[in-house]
């Protein structure tokens, strides 16, 4: 059974349906991406999964059904969200931000080891560990947000538009990091407008349009699909 199984997921803001009943799966160890244009319902899907908006439909995570659970309870089950716009704690230091990522953990020695690993993966954060997170550049903040989520040792990492608002070279760095994390065996669901990058790094992909999934398949196949190329890859 897949780590995450989604059946008939609907997310609505008041009367406006942002996600109109979608099905998808993410298997253990996979990097799956959800691509689509602005307003297709990608971020809403992640918000629904994380319980930031109460969704309708069925979500099975690690064999259990998530039903009307608050966000913190879903986090406790091992789902971690790197929100759109990063959501870093601006007036806390980089080190304090990372410590917050391990809020639910009590294993001090292990947390320390994970912190060392995070600094290894992101040497930039180590240099600036005592600095306020709000003073970091956009790319560094994105790195911090990812590293912070990893501090919770999530079973599933949800990434919402990690490339947003970053310089092209910084985007490349971030994606190299995402690939490295996936390589370590962390399961990732990636939401991205930059279809080119997302298809390069992921195993499988779903294409969303106006709240519904219109295409799905292995990423390298979708990258060759004429429809996808025309709509998202600028051919």
């Amino acid at each position: 059974m897949s780590l995450l199984q989604v059946r008939g997921l609907k997310v609505a803001y008041g009367g406006i349906q942002a996600v109109r009943g979608i099905d998808f799966d993410v298997a253990q160890g996979e990097l799956v991406c959800l691509i689509g244009a602005n307003g297709a319902g990608k971020s809403s899907t992640l918000k629904g999964l994380m319980g930031l908006i109460q969704p309708h439909g069925e979500v099975f995570f690690a064999g259990e059904r998530l039903q009307k659970q608050p966000t913190h309870a879903i986090a406790a089950r091992g789902m971690a969200l790197v929100p759109e716009g990063r959501g870093i704690f601006g007036r806390l230091t980089v080190a304090e931000n990372l410590a917050m990522g391990a809020y639910l953990r009590n294993d001090r020695a292990e947390i320390k080891a994970d912190l060392a690993r995070a600094f290894e993966l992101f040497p930039r954060l180590a240099e600036r560990s005592k600095q306020l997170a709000g003073t970091l550049s956009g790319g560094e903040q994105q790195m911090l947000a990812i590293a912070r989520a990893m501090m919770g040792r999530p079973r599933l990492l949800l990434l919402d538009e990690p490339s947003m608002g970053l310089a092209p070279l910084m985007v490349q760095k971030i994606y190299a990091t995402i690939a490295a994390i996936a390589h370590e065996g962390v399961t990732i669901l990636l939401v991205e407008q930059n279809a080119n990058l997302a298809l390069q790094v992921s195993h499988r992909a779903y294409v969303m349009e106006s709240g519904a999934i219109t295409l799905s398949g292995p990423s390298h196949e979708l990258a060759r699909n004429p429809q996808v190329r025309a709509a998202y890859l600028g051919d």
């Binding site: 913190h72 007036r91 806390l92 917050m100 709000g134 003073t135 550049s137 070279l169 910084m170 760095k173």
Partner: protein, 350 residues
């Protein structure tokens, strides 16, 4: 040490009125520390904080005055007042959980006014609060048979009750400071800081944001209720007038002036904003002595100076007089940010 002998220095140097001022300083420190939990730690702007002070004071008056003929002991009434205020903190917090910033401020402001208006009008049909006349003859604090109500004569000297209250308030204030400092460094304090910075991210870290926000409201309100009970016992008289919007704003100003989120700053703010208005009273006497009449009413001057001080603060020390180390770094860093961002850009290219 200085704190221990301070009332004697003040008492002999400047008279008993100043010992009384000291007592009020301590009460305001207590209030400011309580409000700082809500505003400084958890980032929830509360403009109706004085309502909790009122609740603590009124509960004390109900249970220890001739009004209902109840004279329950101090050690019982004070915690009850603090608990009642804490309960109302949750009652205010629960419906406002989804609100932030300005919207929360408006609702809390309304709450503060509602409590005051209730106190003003609940003299009919059943006389609960005695309306605008307020409640009188509230029992003074009495510990182990020693009543704080009468002056003590020893060694040919007279010590009025203000001295006893000073030490009582000091004990509570030190306790409050200890609790507030411990809270800040605790798991709860870190959760509050995360909520203050980004609520969605805080929830995604596994923080129960609803419970943590309610806890902040409850803790802050408890401190307010405690201060209120002490105030009622100290004054012996309370009326709705003591709990108006201005008082809420004043306590908030103490926090902002001193340095939000930082306990020494909050204490400094409370001390300054209580002592300076008192000191300004002398300006009236000075005018009378030099000009023969009062040209500028010190009470008006107080407001003017207050405004000037706050504007000057925002311009020159926006993080407060004694900012928390984080706020200080934040404001210091702002100048360096653009420069650094530039550097980062080159970094990524290299």
């Amino acid at each position: 040490m200085l704190l221990a002998i301070l009332p004697f220095l003040m008492g002999f140097g400047l008279g008993n009125a100043w010992v009384r001022v000291l007592d009020f300083v301590l009460l305001y420190v207590l209030l400011a520390i309580g409000l700082n939990i809500v505003v400084g730690y958890a980032g929830l702007l509360d403009l109706g904080y004085i309502a909790f002070y009122a609740l603590g004071a009124y509960l004390y008056a109900w249970l220890a005055s001739p009004h209902f003929g109840l004279h329950l002991p101090f050690w019982l009434v004070l915690p009850l007042g603090a608990m009642l205020a804490g309960l109302f903190g949750v009652l205010l917090g629960a419906p406002t959980l989804r609100l932030r910033g300005d919207y929360l401020a408006i609702v809390t402001l309304g709450f503060g006014e509602i409590i005051r208006i209730f106190m003003n009008n609940l003299n009919a049909p059943f006389n609960l609060t005695n309306g605008p006349q307020g409640m009188n003859l509230i029992d003074p604090v009495s510990i182990a048979g020693f009543s704080f109500g009468k002056p003590l004569h020893v060694f040919g000297m007279t010590f009025p009750p203000t001295y006893f209250y000073y030490y009582l308030f000091l004990a509570f204030t030190l306790l409050a400071i200890f609790v507030a400092l411990r809270l800040q460094d605790s798991r709860i304090g870190r959760a509050w800081a995360a909520i203050r910075e980004d609520e969605i991210a805080a929830a995604a870290m596994g923080i129960n944001t609803r419970n943590m926000k309610l806890l902040a409201f409850a803790m802050g309100a408890t401190f307010g209720g405690l201060a209120g009970g002490l105030f009622a016992a100290f004054q012996g008289f309370i009326s709705p007038e003591s709990f108006n919007l201005w008082e809420s704003i004043l306590v908030l100003c103490m926090i902002v002036l001193g340095g939000m989120g930082n306990i020494p700053g909050v204490i400094l703010g409370a001390v300054l904003l209580t002592v300076i208005p008192e000191a300004l009273r002398y300006l009236g006497d000075l005018q009378r002595a030099t000009l023969g009449h009062v040209a500028v009413d010190p009470a008006d001057l107080r407001m003017l100076l207050f405004g000037v001080a706050l504007v000057a603060m925002m311009l020159f020390r926006p993080a407060g007089l004694l900012p928390s180390h984080q706020r200080k770094r934040e404001f210091a860093a702002e100048d360096g940010v653009a420069e650094q961002e530039q550097a980062n850009l080159y970094d990524t290219r290299a």
